[in-house]
Amino acid sequence: MKRHARIFCAATAVAVMVGGGAACGGEADGGPGPDDLATLAIGGTPDDGGGGFVPLGGDAPLIPGSQGGFHVWLKYRITGMAPGLVKVRHSARRASDARLVLTAERRQELGPATTDGYWELPAALPAFMCPSPLGVRVVDETIRFRIEVLSADGAPVAQGEAEATPRCPSGTHADFCARICSG
């Protein structure tokens, strides 16, 4: 009896995984598939949030910022898109359990591509990390950042993901950062 139950359970799990996978990858709404989307690369920038572009990954410094909080600088490069006004949606989730850390949306005017073939966000965006959501530790945790570019009618036209691990700064802000970024 127990053996039958285990077989049934395993079969159900496989079915759910297969079904789930199909649902995730499906294009039931007829929208663009991943191949149709423009390429978006997520990057960071040196601590001052100024110029420069470094692919986001590994350790990401938590920068003291908004009203006593901490953020990670985000930038992005888009290849294969025409200039124009778009909506950009950012989100960040803790990789271990997909708990939401950040969600934000804003409009962005995309300019023409450079000779290198991409358009780059001129100034880095502060991705708000801390004070972190209640019960969600952010510091020293792998965070999955996602940026989606949507057309005026809300259709996705570009998206990219990158993972990084926010780290508190050393020095005067270290203790404070650890306190408010630990959920």
Binding site: Q67, G69, L134, I180
Partner: protein, 565 residues
């Protein structure tokens, strides 16, 4: 054995979760800066309306201050150089009124009740959930902008260096109270800014009006640690959030108060005490309540209804001061302190009226009476020392438009732009102001009504009763608690239970998904009476039929007694 292991695993998980959401400390809004650093001004409370759109936060901040104009100062840390505009007190008056928690007790009668239909709770309810009780520089120094707006001089300062900033404030008579030196530290650093306000020369405390600050940020946050400098115990913090869905406290707990603790008979008079108790039950005493969450339409047309404020040219053309004030009245101007303070500079109130405790609003609303020849001849002493009228209608119109009309219309427009309004509330003491509350949204959460209802049913039985004080009754609250009064509710209004928890539920609200409940108490299943040890007349459950029978028996007994006498 297996169950025990699972149980242990579950408990371990719970413990781990609790540790994970355990104690933190942090810092945090504007603080008042009196000139005498040893005497912090008591700050009555915080009232802020946030609207967030596309990475820009718009904050309407009501400055509540009790003190002399010369002693007023205000400091707000910001993530970037803000834009500053004037706000309006009327916004907050309307918000408070339209979203105020209300507790209504409906009285029902079963059987032959021969007493009134206007019992407890028939008076208009209003739980007072409110607070007890508001030049560019490219040089090297901290100054970024110094300018004036409405009644204020203001400066935006770089927060790179505490010493430089505090010195600039002191040199320019923006005073800093004791304690700021310690609390300001976490708001300092490269790329950080402070907005400092003081009243302009010649302005009075009555000129204080809300400010509107706009700055880029994805989240609204109250830097509450700075507030602790002049705060009082259990200070109320009221936050309204405008957006596309219900707002949440991102890093504070969320509490649903236990409505059994509410004084339903007095329309929720003890509401604030219940809130204080409920918040104290949350970890770190860090929790907000949602007092209203729903459509922002309830605020539409409250501030900017059609043809409000009329035509400025028509007001300016009024032939006399009395005619001017009456012209404002007919255009639905509020006679708030902002309006009366402006009017007072040109049409001052006679000093004797102040001595008679006539308020400025009362004076201007009845100006034709107080300035009539009859009144003057009858009470000449009221006019002793009166400067008289300096009638300058165009100047008055200009000031009114800048300080009242434009801010009010702009505030009203917010409720057409943003579809959803949330009202959050907490009370917090200075020692607990160690974590800046951050607010966000969650579209998965349901609306929250601000009007609440309980029912008190009298069971008069078949033979009837004519005395509500002795008639068995049952109170059933909105959350399903019931309290039985088998011997009646007595001659005085029964108090609410004293020893019940203030919170019905403590939970964590995320930016998606349903609440995660941390602690919850529920009424007994079946809706039967709860056990309320502190209610003298409340006993264990008795079903409606039983109460009706008891009522009938009591009625019979009284009828017999009356027969004997």
């Amino acid at each position: 054995m297996m169950n025990l292991a699972r149980c242990a695993l579950f408990l371990g998980f719970l413990a781990a979760s609790w540790v994970g959401i355990g104690p933190r400390q942090a810092e945090a809004c504007g603080c008042f800066t009196p000139p005498d650093p040893s005497v912090p001004i008591v700050q009555a409370g915080e009232r802020i309306l946030f609207a967030i759109e596309e990475g820009v936060v718009t904050a309407h901040i009501q400055i509540q201050y009790a003190g002399s104009a010369g002693e007023f100062g205000w400091l707000l840390p910001l993530p970037s150089v803000p834009t500053l505009e004037l706000g309006t007190d009327e916004l907050f008056a309307q918000l408070i009124q339209e979203t105020q928690p209300k507790y209504r007790l409906t009285t029902a009668f079963e059987g032959n009740c021969r007493f009134g239909r206007g019992g407890f709770g028939s008076s208009p309810p209003s739980a007072d959930g409110g607070t007890s009780g508001g030049s560019n520089s490219s040089g090297k120094g901290p100054l970024v902008i110094q300018d004036s707006i409405g009644p204020y001089d203001y400066a935006v300062l770089r927060g790179d260096s505490k010493d430089e900033m505090l010195k600039w404030l002191a040199d320019n008579r923006y005073f800093v109270p004791v304690g700021t030196d310690q609390t300001v530290g976490n708001y300092l650093g490269p790329g950080k800014y402070f907005l400092a306000l003081k009243l302009r020369s010649g302005q009075s405390a009555g000129d204080l009006q809300p400010v509107v600050v706009k700055y880029p940020s994805d989240y609204a946050m109250i830097p509450i640690e700075l507030t602790s400098v002049g705060a009082q115990p259990n200070m109320g913090v009221q936050v309204w959030m405008l957006g596309g869905s219900r707002a949440i406290p991102r890093n504070y707990y969320h509490t649903v108060i236990n409505d059994l603790a509410i004084d339903w008979y007095a329309a929720g008079r003890n509401y604030n005490d219940v809130v204080i108790k409920a918040v104290a039950e949350a970890p770190e005493k860090h929790s907000f309540l949602t007092e209203y969450a729903g459509t922002s339409r309830i605020m539409q047309d409250r501030l900017d209804f059609p043809r409000r404020f009329g035509d400025p040219a028509a007001h300016a053309a009024a032939p006399s001061a009395i005619g001017f004030v009456q012209s404002l009245q007919s255009a639905s101007f509020p006679f708030s302190s902002q309006v009366t303070t402006i009017l007072g500079r040109y049409i001052p109130m006679p000093p004797g009226l102040e001595r008679k405790k006539i308020t400025p609003a009362q004076f201007y609303l009845s100006i034709d009476y107080f300035l009539s020849d009859d009144y003057r001849s009858q009470f000449p002493e009221d006019f002793e020392g009166w400067a008289g009228i300096n009638y300058q209608p165009q100047k008055m119109v200009d000031e009114l438009w800048e300080r009242v009309v434009k801010p009010t219309l702009a505030a009203g427009a917010l409720f057409r732009k943003f579809p959803y309004l949330t009202r959050l509330y907490t009370t917090i003491s200075p020692e607990d102001m160690n974590l800046d509350p951050v607010f966000s949204f969650n579209k998965d959460l349901p609306d929250v009504a601000h009007e609440h209802q309980a029912t008190l049913t009298y069971y008069c039985g078949v033979l009837g009763s004519d005395d509500p004080a002795r008639t068995p009754a049952r109170l059933v609250t909105e959350q399903g608690w019931s309290v039985d009064y088998p011997n009646g509710t007595g001659n005085t209004q029964p108090p609410p239970p004293r020893d019940v928890a203030g919170s019905q539920r403590i939970e964590v609200l995320g930016e998606e998904g349903p609440p995660r409940v941390i602690q919850e108490i529920l009424p007994d299943r079946g809706g039967c009476a709860c056990r309320v040890a502190s209610v003298p007349s409340a006993r264990s459950a008795a079903a409606g039929v039983g109460l009706a029978l008891l009522g009938a028996a009591l009625a019979m007994a009284r009828a017999r007694r009356r027969g004997r006498s």
